[in-house]
Amino acid sequence: MDTFKSKLIQLTLATALTAAAMSSANAEEDVEQTVIDPVIGQPTIEMHSKDFEVTGFLGLAGVDQVTTNGMFGARFAFHITENVFAEASYSVTGHASSVTYYDAVMGYQFPGQLFLSQNYRYNTATYVVFGAGKSDFEKRGSLNTIVGGGGYRVMITDDFNVKFDLRGHLHHEIKANPDQWAIDFEATVGIGYYF
């Protein structure tokens, strides 16, 4: 009798336990199904934003308002907003006594469209830049310089663009009269890449 009783108790206990286990498992499943995982601080989309731009360019530079020669250089831009960018550039002219420009400018761009034909449309930007830098005249020392200008950028693809720039470097005259101002101009064509 005792053994039967104990067996009965064991059986009921076992069934109760399994039932409890199953119901808890069910409850867990229900919880998993109903509670939406709140993704806080963990973005569902990880995508790199191409805010940097590197440009190589070639063009013409006029120095001392007399001699014009070829030039080349590179720019590195950082797009702060869709309109505002900061840009540093380095360029060297091909003059016998070459001039090296180090510029840092801020730019503002006005977006636009270029309709090349019925079938081709490109995003563009017309921009103005203003900043300061140094003009390093070979063997003659360097001068503080004000830089200003503008340009036009055509987005050939979403990452590559072709750009046309006109800039002036305003500094004190290097030779005759140091109190006089001189403007060196540059006209360049470049290829830019966003990354």
Binding site: D37, I45, M47, K50, I80, E82, P111, N123
Partner: protein, 115 residues
């Protein structure tokens, strides 16, 4: 000569097999579904550019590129354009969760500095 033509054929075959895989790759990217009534699609990555298409509710889009403040999208019927990253909040991902995105380096930097 025969060897050369064979080689040429192999190269051609390889090139052609590569083309579809390239275009398939272009379709890749996170997919999102419009959850608000509509999302404006602009011609370029700037608010001044015209809106030329309006993606309707439940329309799927593939995110293909990203520039300061903007995502390039391709809608399910092939329209390509740019949406503001602020509009991406009004989309859902494949599992139906609201879409959130990592801040750009610039924004991250600014918010960290202002903290």
């Amino acid at each position: 000569m025969k060897k050369l033509s064979k080689l040429f054929a192999v190269i051609l075959a390889a090139a052609f097999s590569f083309i579809p895989s390239l275009s398939a790759f272009a379709e890749d990217g996170p997919q999102v579904r419009v959850a608000s009534d509509f999302i404006n699609i602009h011609l370029g990555p700037a608010v001044e550019t015209p809106v030329f298409y309006v993606a309707e509710k439940d329309e799927w889009m593939v995110l293909k590129n990203r520039r300061t403040g903007w995502f390039k999208v391709q809608t399910e019927n092939g329209v390509e354009g740019w949406i503001s990253e602020n509009e991406l909040v009004f989309t859902l991902d494949g599992e139906g969760n609201p879409v959130t995105y990592n801040p750009s380096l610039v924004k991250n930097f600014i918010t960290n500095i202002s903290k």
